[in-house]
Subunit: 219 residues, 4 copies
Amino acid sequence: MTDLQDLRTRVCALHTELTRWDLVAWTSGNVSARVPGTDRMVIKASGVSYDDLVPEHMVECDLHGRPVHDSGHSPSSDTAAHAYVYRALPGIGGVVHTHSPYATAWAARGEPIPCAVTAMADEFGGDIPVGPFSRIGDDSIGRGIVATLEHHRSPAVLMAHHGVFTVGATAKDAVKAAVMCEDVARTLHLARQNGPLERLPQEDIDALHDRYRNVYGQK
Amino acid sequence: MTDLQDLRTRVCALHTELTRWDLVAWTSGNVSARVPGTDRMVIKASGVSYDDLVPEHMVECDLHGRPVHDSGHSPSSDTAAHAYVYRALPGIGGVVHTHSPYATAWAARGEPIPCAVTAMADEFGGDIPVGPFSRIGDDSIGRGIVATLEHHRSPAVLMAHHGVFTVGATAKDAVKAAVMCEDVARTLHLARQNGPLERLPQEDIDALHDRYRNVYGQK
Amino acid sequence: MTDLQDLRTRVCALHTELTRWDLVAWTSGNVSARVPGTDRMVIKASGVSYDDLVPEHMVECDLHGRPVHDSGHSPSSDTAAHAYVYRALPGIGGVVHTHSPYATAWAARGEPIPCAVTAMADEFGGDIPVGPFSRIGDDSIGRGIVATLEHHRSPAVLMAHHGVFTVGATAKDAVKAAVMCEDVARTLHLARQNGPLERLPQEDIDALHDRYRNVYGQK
Amino acid sequence: MTDLQDLRTRVCALHTELTRWDLVAWTSGNVSARVPGTDRMVIKASGVSYDDLVPEHMVECDLHGRPVHDSGHSPSSDTAAHAYVYRALPGIGGVVHTHSPYATAWAARGEPIPCAVTAMADEFGGDIPVGPFSRIGDDSIGRGIVATLEHHRSPAVLMAHHGVFTVGATAKDAVKAAVMCEDVARTLHLARQNGPLERLPQEDIDALHDRYRNVYGQK
């Protein structure tokens, strides 16, 4: 198996995490990955059901979102946004987009999620910010994502009136961020329904985030 | 396999989407399809559990909801409403009815779902409207569905104090509309719990809907 | 297979509906059935995990809740309540008890569920009432169930600060009532979060309930 | 199979209950058990996906949380908290930690769950209390758990701005407490959204809890 085919297989399989953790409805979310060492990416084909997804549906594109072969599959309608992120942020190897319901509820109001629980300090290092509303179709969404993320530690951004984009060193890291984003969006939605939310002190957020990045998981 | 048997097989299988996406409880939703090129339709038999459903439970009826054979199965008690839609709207090939919980919550209050997120502009082209309350049993529900849909782009209508009806060029399109209707009903229910909803500007809704219909998916 | 063994097999299998429809946590719900033509019932053994449940865990008891054999299994701690229902209501062949979350939320407040959607008129013929709080351990809960149900058409009752009991001609009917009770409890909880609930007119409730009992399902 | 290997197998398997009952996202919860008759414990390895978990991922540690062998796996970043509980409470054989969403919503507000339904009196014998906020990394969390639990009958404690810890005579008992904690956290969250909660009278709580401990389940 070539490296590209292996990457397609892994990116294809990561879509099952989107359905498992209830992040998507019908075909409404997608995962992409940079092809390491190249100016290319692979991304889910547009409108294909998760049940039917095979590695060949991961369409290889350049970093302007143009398919590099005529594979017979059109890439996701969100491809321009993913591509812009890879162009602007060289350290990013994976991008995920969902309309997961609790996170998108915060996005619909244009309200950031305040860092009020330790799991959020760990994974996001602070609030999950809101990016600007943009119509789909050109670089606008990508620019909004990058402009928002550069002022935050968070690998997740809530695009106003739209949904969630997450980034990571790998596609798997970006999927993890999408799962955790929905989890904390839900917990803090529930918490706020019965009272105001109190943000953690910045000093604690900093300490928790630093520890999580350096101590958590296997060496 | 005849075309009719093939249609029955596909309509039967689409009921698994109703349970997979949590749109139904016990036996409370149904899918129908027009038999192409005829004045007939097939629809789920009344009160049969989704576990037990086989293609033979898709009862062939005329477009007044009367079974055309004595198959031993009574069609859904919602058959008259489905049949009216097919009589009134020649372009419609599939109809779905559910009591999916978030959408039915909006219906119970008789409140349309405002078009406040891009996924809703894409799929519904505007608000999801509310149709009148009618008792089951004659053409009243069908008339209410058609009278409401003709003033909106939305393929979904919330029938007051009742539930959801969706339509599509095919039964699969109508099922997709039912899945997406519950998804946006949930997201906007959650959004509204912590603040007022702001509708997208009409110009953006128009642009998003136009693009979605003409660009999304595979050619 | 004897009739009793067949009944045990069916009652055992019905417990999978409690987990499938998210009505129970850990071991917190149970199904029983009257043994037709006798003064006996079968009911789930106490504290046994649903994964481990086999027909032999359906303990045969008299209608005072006393095991009629030494089977090695203690019957559910709710057995006295089930038994009282069978003694008092000869037409009842099945009883179900759950703490399903949305219905128990109404029960925790001691608030009946108003008949505000057609599915509720169909299945419950009106509001789902609230019965009195009683401690477990003697006939008190059973008396509260029966005293409440005799003034309503509903096969479900919310026992204050406790949970749900449903009854039916068969155990399967009682399970269906438990599934539908949670479904309408959820829909009307959600509806009420964003506005007041409006009960359906009594005339419509009566017409819908009558039709549902006489027309719905297969002959 | 040695006793230790058997314990590892059982603790590993109990993690499937965390995903089944929706208590965890990605890798965010863990189960541990005391090795009976020793000053050791086994606990999930840090950051390993539940899908990939095998008994060898249950890392054997002393009761200060230090691995006793170089197994190649780092123990959970919550190990110090678990270990402190075993040191301080000799009767405890199992500890569970989750960020289950409804319970963590109460924890985010620092609000105890009032004992307002009978299932809660049964399992928790009163309110589920809140423990102090502490940063991860030393004995602070463990001390907060123990100091809070010693004033309550509850086997569950909500750690402020963090999540849930539960204890039990065995790891399975602690898992059951975690499942029931989320269940009552959800039910009472829902109940409270539409009105104030009324605590059960203390006399009833005492009677229910006593009965549950002495009568429920198989002998």
